[in-house]
């Protein structure tokens, strides 16, 4: 029987924490290999949100009654957990809760970008960004005629840093993915941050695909801004996290206007609330913050180091099984055994279209993603329209991988 050389997690017990993973589809148990798109939730997250709605629901920062105060405290605890997870120095002021990380990046381009960038100013991104960290900048470019430069992706699927200083020269802002949602590569942020700071630029990293899988320390990384999204780390949908150093946030104009974000309002003017509420207009995602806090507790209880070790072993196992079973397979990402590689595995099985692959896999109750993964510039760079993507998380094991392999054999039988 297939097994990993090193077992770091009790995956059977972990699977039992996730109600959805016991779902049976046409007689087969779900094999969920699409956590890079959105992870599943453990019972603890569902319970925390249910408990809030059944015992503590009230609007936050408004009522003086006990329930409202408790709701406010629990909402703010979610914020503190979100900061603790990335070792943010000052979470009660520097963590902004948004609807998802896409909104967080739009907040940055809309407020920081419009305040600080004029025609010809340079922003540096990478070719492997998710659309969430390209399109808001392109919108700003359409409005302001800023210049956007890109760090390119090499044939080894890593960023080309050979001309780093040249690319970031005179840049005002550098924003790079911390881990690719297509290639599985984990960015070596240190040289990029150092070069950007030498050039006088601020640096933001997109942690959507890193925070759920690896310990992250924004202070050790010397970042200025950072974002991640709740649903990819087993929290609810509807919540994203933006961290930035307080002096950056202080100098940024507000984003959305309305209740909560103001200090005073008159008929002809307003003043803004203090951090972080200055950026949180309207009733915030209260249950979602509480759910996010529960997800973070769950992650911390298992330990991100152990999750990372498990994923590394399972990623190698998967890559090896794929390449030994299907000699024609093309994998868009670093090979087994590579450093700085996460459990996102994009591939093409000969000429068979990813849509067809995913459809047949669904028949085996294997859930994978097929498409461009919201990274069209990267797909162009790779020379493909679409890939099939299997992504691993703490609740996956070698049995899931074996089911994937069997299902792929069936795909080949069907289309050849």
């Amino acid at each position: 029987m297939a097994s990993l050389e090193v077992q770091t997690l009790a995956v059977e017990a972990i699977k039992a924490d996730f109600p959805l993973l016991s779902r049976v589809q046409a007689g087969r148990k779900i094999v969920f290999l699409d956590s890079a798109a959105s992870a599943q939730r453990p019972q603890a997250v569902l319970d925390a949100m249910d408990d809030y709605y059944s015992t503590t629901h009230a609007n936050v920062h408004r009522g003086v009654y006990a329930i409202a105060e408790e709701a406010t405290r629990r909402y703010e605890e979610g914020r503190l957990a979100a900061g603790r997870l990335i070792n943010a120095p000052n979470p009660s002021r520097e963590i902004i809760l948004t609807k998802n990380v896409t909104e967080a990046y739009n907040l940055v381009t809309y407020t920081w970008g419009r305040k600080n960038l004029q025609r010809g100013d340079v922003v540096v991104l990478t070719e492997s960004e998710h659309h969430a960290n390209i399109v808001p900048w392109l919108m700003l470019k359409a409005e302001r005629e800023i210049e956007i430069r890109y760090l390119r992706v090499n044939d080894d699927f890593r960023l080309d840093l050979s001309n780093l200083d040249e690319v970031v020269r005179d840049a005002k802002f550098v924003s790079v993915t911390a881990a690719s949602n297509v290639l599985g590569t984990i960015t070596d942020l240190a040289p990029i941050v150092a070069a950007a700071h030498r050039a006088g630029a601020l640096v933001m990293a997109d942690g959507a695909q890193l925070v759920p899988h690896r310990p992250v320390d924004v202070q050790a990384l010397d970042l200025d801004l950072f974002g991640y999204t709740g649903h990819k780390l087993m929290g609810p949908t509807g919540i994203g996290v933006l961290w930035a150093r307080a002096e950056i946030l202080e100098a940024m104009p507000p984003f959305l206007g309305g209740g909560e974000m103001i200090n005073d309002v008159r008929l002809d003017s307003f003043t803004t609330n203090e951090l972080p509420w200055k950026f949180e207009a309207g009733t915030p995602p209260i249950a979602e913050s509480i759910g996010l806090g529960a997800a973070i507790k769950y992650l911390e209880a298992i330990g991100l180091d152990r999750i990372a070790a498990h994923e590394a072993a399972l990623t190698d196992y998967t890559l090896n099984r794929l390449t030994e079973t299907f000699p024609e397979i093309e994998i868009f990402g670093p090979p087994a055994g590579a450093d700085r590689r996460g459990g996102v595995i994009s591939f093409k099985l000969g000429d068979i279209h990813p849509h067809d692959v995913a459809q047949v896999l669904d028949e085996h109750a294997v859930c994978v993603r097929a498409g461009h993964h919201c990274a069209k510039p990267l797909m162009r760079r790779l020379g493909v329209n679409a890939t099939t993507r299997a992504s691993l998380y703490l609740y996956n094991d070698e049995h899931d991988v074996e089911t994937l392999i069997e299902a792929l054999v069936d795909v080949k039988r069907m289309f050849q």
Partner: protein, 157 residues
């Protein structure tokens, strides 16, 4: 749940493996129109030659999944040599088969489409199973939407 055999009929796989009318035509006289499926990044390039209201030639290039490719291949075989009026009627019936009802859209769309006779579709009827896989309807209709655009361009050319 619908079974895969409803989707991947043998005729569909046959058109996928050996697509009809693949290639390009010189423009002009042919019209060249690109279609994209934003969901999956598939693209199709349709070359259409219309003379005296007859589709005299059609070629297809681009990449896509088995459903989009076979639908395009069957479409090309079905429209070649047909009059523009016949082709428009076929497009409407095909979309109706895909559960897309556009009776309120477009000027010519007001006429009611009667019950579809699967026999009149020939091989295209094999695509009927796609309806049970809603995300794949866009794959099946990609070439047809591109054809609509090409006919519009042909009408104004």
């Amino acid at each position: 749940m619908a079974g895969l055999e409803d989707l991947y009929r043998e005729i569909i796989l046959d058109h996928y493996r050996s697509p009809r009318n693949r290639g390009e035509l010189t423009t002009p006289p042919a019209i060249r129109v690109e279609g994209f499926n934003p969901l999956c990044g598939d693209e199709i390039v349709l070359y259409l030659e219309v003379a005296d209201d007859i589709v005299t030639d059609v070629k297809i290039s681009g990449q896509g999944c088995s459903i989009s490719q076979s639908s395009a291949s069957m479409m090309s075989a079905a429209i070649k040599g047909k009059s523009v009026v016949e082709v428009r009627a076929l497009i409407r019936s095909f979309k109706a088969m895909m559960s897309i009802h556009e009776a309120t859209l477009g000027e010519e769309g007001v006429e009611e489409i009667g019950p579809i006779d699967p026999d009149s579709f020939g091989e295209l009827a094999a695509l009927q199973g796609v309806v049970k896989f809603p995300v794949r309807i866009k794959c099946a209709t990609l070439s047809w939407n591109t054809l609509v655009q090409a006919l519009e361009e042909a009408a104004t050319a």
